[in-house]
Symmetry: C2
């Protein structure tokens, strides 16, 4: 690393963003000076440089100033944005960590350098495992864990189950499709372009898929793709697609609610109402929202499963890596414009 | 009983009823002649006279000709309507039953007399138990069992939980409130008149309640009644009230969907959309529809619990008993006009 005093760029909230896609009016980059000498780091803390930053849709819901659907704490004006990172320890005031350790930090500052409490480190990672560092933010990170909780713990598809996944070419959908396939199910995804449909079938293990932008009637599309109905729906979009699914559920279907990306940029009264929840009674459907914080104690089980799948070649990630911390805002907005494929990651340090 | 040949009045479906409250255009009464001699009753069947008939909202969803939300088999044109009954065996071709036995029949013809397979009998009841026969159709029947499944098996409130129940003065709400109270929770109900609010507080164990017809803003009402949020919501109405509840749920709230009486008389595209399902993610809410058929194997456990509560005076029923099989149609439509309180029952035989 450079000298003891470093310049560190960081993204902070300049103004609340209540609807639409956040812009440079809301999130701004600034440069601060950090002193990383041992005597300026508190006990139980480490100084770290950020290598890779995960860019996830839930971040958008923390920018409005008012906790909404996901109920997450909001960033204050002037506060540095946080996200899941792969970081490298450069100074340590905790005997469990030494300089050079690679660590996963679920709530790291979106900054080039930071001083963080070691209690905020999820775990060390092995740089020699043969797994690429970006994969620790995709199949082994937030989206992979979300896919695993949604499918393994809540969706519980059985051999032969018919599984539907929306936002299938996104970071969660990419992993979820492959997990479902490992379990011997039929899996079909919806996504936003013909190119992405090709991708989920060619690379993410989906049996089939459709481009929702080409379907004027989701109900009709689901009739074609699920003549035998849907047993598990991993919902990443909410709204109109969720409503259509509820017209095609089988008895005892399960709907883990992982995210509702179609709804994040609207105030709740403007969101699409789901009119057919009554179907949940007749079909005895279980719909359940989940947040990863509730399941951190299972992260070890997940990581063990997933590292095995990756090493066996059963789960592959497609990561869209944008270079430089300055690309964070564009990376975040790309999640809401259907312009991304797979997992969006910012590479902070080469 | 009268002679071997009886005249029996029965209600049948004359025309499908797709929206609105069913009328005499849709359901008609006719008189048929039945021969009840032993040699005209097949083996494994009994002839029975109907004493009391349960009148429940789900019946309305079987009159449209097209299975909808509750996914129940539809009556055909000309088919006799069926419902849960207390009946008396008058001839038996099954050694398990003798003349005079009182039996519960989940799917009995809405008729004065009928010949039914003994496999369709749920169980015998003890006329000397001290429990009134109508109670076998209320606290010990369909609505009581629905309340028990919703609260005991799915809602699982804990001591001190805040529980909300809609349609609280209806047959399910009446029992559910008392069950919740036995578990040491706070229970608040919504219902359609000030008189009913008084009733649920005075007789059904509710700590408090409100008249939804007087609340222009359900959200504001729930803020007043649940300053600490809602842990369990037993939904009997759906629509706008369900949406309001989702703005007040606590973390890990459970919403057993028992019925959606506000939605039964509309085609699904005209139903009220619920716009804030996103809240289910942040609060990690579990919403689950249920039908009693899935839980019949637990009926014995339920009946044992409930008979105990009734004998201890912990659960009381208010039954609205309409006299004569001719009152069935008016009894059914009363469920949708807020004109009934407690459990609606038709007394067929004095």
């Amino acid at each position: 690393m450079e000298g003891v005093v470093v310049e560190s760029r960081e993204w902070f909230l300049a103004a609340y963003s209540t609807d639409g896609v956040p812009t440079s009016e809301h999130l701004k980059l600034r440069t601060v000076t950090l002193t990383l000498a041992s005597d300026s780091i508190p006990d139980g803390h480490v100084a770290a440089e950020t290598l890779f930053i995960s860019v996830d849709p839930y971040i958008r819901t923390k920018l409005t100033g008012t906790p909404d659907g996901l109920n997450l704490p909001q960033y204050h004006i002037n506060q540095v944005i946080t996200s899941f990172s792969v970081s490298r320890v450069i100074r340590s005031k905790d005997s469990k960590y030494v300089e050079g350790d690679l660590v996963l930090v679920p709530s790291a500052p979106v900054a080039e350098y930071s001083i963080i409490p070691s209690s905020g480190i999820l775990r060390k990672i092995d740089g020699e495992s043969g797994i690429s560092l970006p994969d620790y933010l995709s199949s082994l990170g937030v989206p992979g864990f979300a896919a695993w909780v949604g499918i393994e713990l809540l969706g519980e598809p059985k051999v032969g189950s018919n599984v539907f996944i929306s936002a299938a070419s996104g970071a969660v959908g990419m992993v979820a499709g492959q997990l479902v396939k490992i379990k011997g199910c039929k899996v079909i995804g919806s996504t936003g372009s013909d190119e992405k449909v090709k991708l989920i079938k060619g690379e993410f293990g989906y049996d089939d898929g459709f481009n929702y932008n080409k379907e004027s009637d989701f109900d009709a599309a689901l009739s074609r793709y699920f003549p035998d109905g849907i047993d598990v729906y991993l919902d990443n979009v909410g709204g109109e697609m969720l409503e259509a699914v509820l017209n095609h559920v089988n008895k005892y279907a399960r709907i883990p609610l992982c995210g509702m990306i179609s709804q994040y940029n609207k105030v709740w009264t403007e969101r699409e109402g789901v009119r057919n929840l009554l179907n949940m009674i007749g079909k005895e459907v279980r719909m359940e929202g989940f947040m990863l914080a509730t399941y951190w104690h299972r992260f070890g089980d997940f990581a063990q499963d997933m590292e095995g799948y990756i090493k066996e070649g059963k789960v592959k990630s497609k990561n869209k890596i944008n270079i430089g911390i300055e690309s964070f805002l564009d990376s975040l907005s790309s999640l809401f414009t259907s312009s991304n494929i797979g997992k969006v990651i910012v590479q902070v340090k080469a």
